[in-house]
């Protein structure tokens, strides 16, 4: 780097210098990333706050995220998110290779690596959508109590079973109230598969089934109640919960689902906008815009953003799936 007053950045008084020896665009991208990092840490810290507040009843991530594509019914905790982490780190690698090729003014290689980065990002967003689908759909179903706690069901071995595994529905005339059948401005959410009375009756008929509460024991596992306590706990149930949304969550505390949607959603939105920026830069690379401009700094700037998205995911992975 040439040691002139302009490039070292100590003399900015004439208005054309570069403070810190970095271009205006890159510096502003760094400061944007800093502020965005503070936003993400606010999200993750508030997740930590809520988790510390309900430390004894927080859902166990290994029991929630157990799916892997094409492996139905196989209990595969964490492997899928680990794979997603690899995909994102790898797309970071192709991005940094594109930046490197840009320094060498190698248009062909920049094009190739930008393309691979976009593909990697798209695969990641798709994976996240699949993860959301599984989370929203739910697997076992549970009962929500009066105070908003979740009761799950286990068999004699202590493994969780689905509500539909032991409950038989009785005949019911109750239909979902929708806007087109009554008052147009009134409607209700989809009715749960089973009513509370069905669940209580079937539970009495299946002596091997027991109830599992949100409470974690000393070993960090969910507490399983005995038969008498299970029956008593079910009396406080108000309705069946299937899957997760912003209000209720069959895996445990509703805040877990809320934070999952907000944090991974906000991150997914960043990945999505990163892909859009990448596509814009990719088109400009193909058109030769940066070739004519004489430098590929735009690739560097969009690369900074892309790496930041990867950086955030590393933290989301830790705090949502590992810790």
């Amino acid at each position: 780097m040439a040691a002139t007053a302009v490039t070292t950045g100590h003399d900015t008084s004439k208005g054309y210098g570069k403070p810190f020896g970095i271009s205006y665009g890159k510096m502003m991208m760094w400061f944007f990333i800093l502020s965005d990092a503070l936003t993400f840490s606010a999200f993750i810290i508030s997740y930590g706050f809520s988790r510390f507040k309900f430390i004894e009843e927080w859902p166990i991530a290994d029991e929630v995220f157990t799916h892997f594509p094409f492996l139905h019914g196989v209990n595969a905790p964490m492997y899928y998110v680990a794979l997603m982490t690899f995909i994102l780190i790898f797309s970071s690698v192709t991005m940094v290779l594109a930046v490197d090729a840009g320094h060498k003014m190698d248009k062909k290689k920049v094009t190739l690596y930008m393309f691979l980065t976009i593909i990697g990002g798209a695969i990641f967003v798709g994976s996240q959508a699949w993860e959301w689908k599984n989370f929203i759909k739910g697997e076992y179903g549970a009962v929500q109590t009066k105070s908003g706690n979740i009761l799950q069901f286990v068999n004699e071995e202590g493994h969780q079973i689905a509500v539909s595994d032991f409950v038989t529905a009785s005949h019911s005339e109750r239909v979902q109230h929708t806007g087109d059948t009554g008052l147009w401005y009134q409607s209700e959410a989809a009715l749960p598969t089973f009513t509370m009375a069905d669940i209580q009756k079937s539970f009495a008929a299946h002596p091997e089934v027991r109830v599992r509460t949100q409470q974690l024991d000393e070993a960090g596992a969910k507490t399983i109640l005995d038969r008498a306590k299970s029956t008593a706990a079910l009396q406080t149930g108000v309705k069946m919960v299937e899957g997760a949304n912003l209000k209720e969550n069959e895996y445990g505390h509703p805040l877990f689902a809320d934070f999952f949607f907000f944090i991974t959603g906000f991150h997914g939105f960043h990945v999505f906008s990163g892909i859009v920026f990448n596509i814009i830069v990719f088109v400009n690379v193909i058109l030769g815009t940066y070739e004519r401009r004489g430098h590929y700094e735009m690739v560097e700037k969009v690369g900074l953003y892309w790496h930041f998205v990867d950086l955030v995911w590393v933290f989301v992975f830790t705090f949502f799936y590992l810790v």
């Binding site: 950045g9 810190f20 020896g21 970095i22 510096m27 760094w30 990333i33 800093l34 990092a37 503070l38 840490s41 606010a42 810290i45 508030s46 930590g48 706050f49 809520s50 988790r51 510390f52 507040k53 309900f54 430390i55 004894e56 290994d62 905790p77 964490m78 492997y79 680990a82 982490t85 690899f86 780190i89 790898f90 970071s92 690698v93 991005m95 940094v96 290779l97 930046v99 490197d100 320094h103 009066k146 105070s147 908003g148 706690n149 960090g220 430098h295 700094e297 690369g303 900074l304 790496h307 930041f308 990867d310 950086l311 590393v314 933290f315 992975f317 830790t318 799936y321 590992l322 810790v323």
Partner: protein
């Protein structure tokens, strides 16, 4: 604009060119992720049963490895190692100190509310 290639991994790895460095960092990040996943699946009882400052040793392990990964992404992939010292500090120090401060305050407060709900008159389970 070509930056000098900085050695990394405590100066032990001295890549000859940028491309080589990128792949070395990728290998390192992958290795750390694999270690994290292995520990997350095994959950060694020594690390689960013992805790430091109210956090399990396993969780400390994960958090430290995460910061380790974040360091390499920022320094190697985002080329923070090539920026001017005060450019680097204006971004990194602001982030690190502010986040550490807020995290400390909020986690302490979360633990306090947990105590209140457990031992005081307020309950959410009725």
């Amino acid at each position: 604009m070509a930056h000098e290639i900085q050695p990394f991994f405590l100066g032990m790895l001295k890549p000859k060119n940028n491309i080589q460095k990128i792949w070395m960092v990728f290998a390192l990040l992958s290795l750390v992720t694999i270690i994290e996943v292995i520990f997350g699946i095994i959950k060694p009882s020594v690390m689960v049963d013992n805790s430091l400052f109210g956090l399990k040793l396993l969780n400390w392990f994960f958090i430290i490895l995460t910061i380790y990964k974040a360091y390499y992404i920022t320094w190697a992939f985002m080329h923070m190692d090539g920026e001017h010292k005060w450019m680097r500090r204006s971004v990194v120090w602001t982030g690190v100190f502010f986040i550490a401060y807020i995290a400390f305050i909020f986690l302490l407060e979360g633990g306090y509310i947990y105590e209140i709900m457990k031992n005081s008159f307020i309950t959410r389970d009725f």
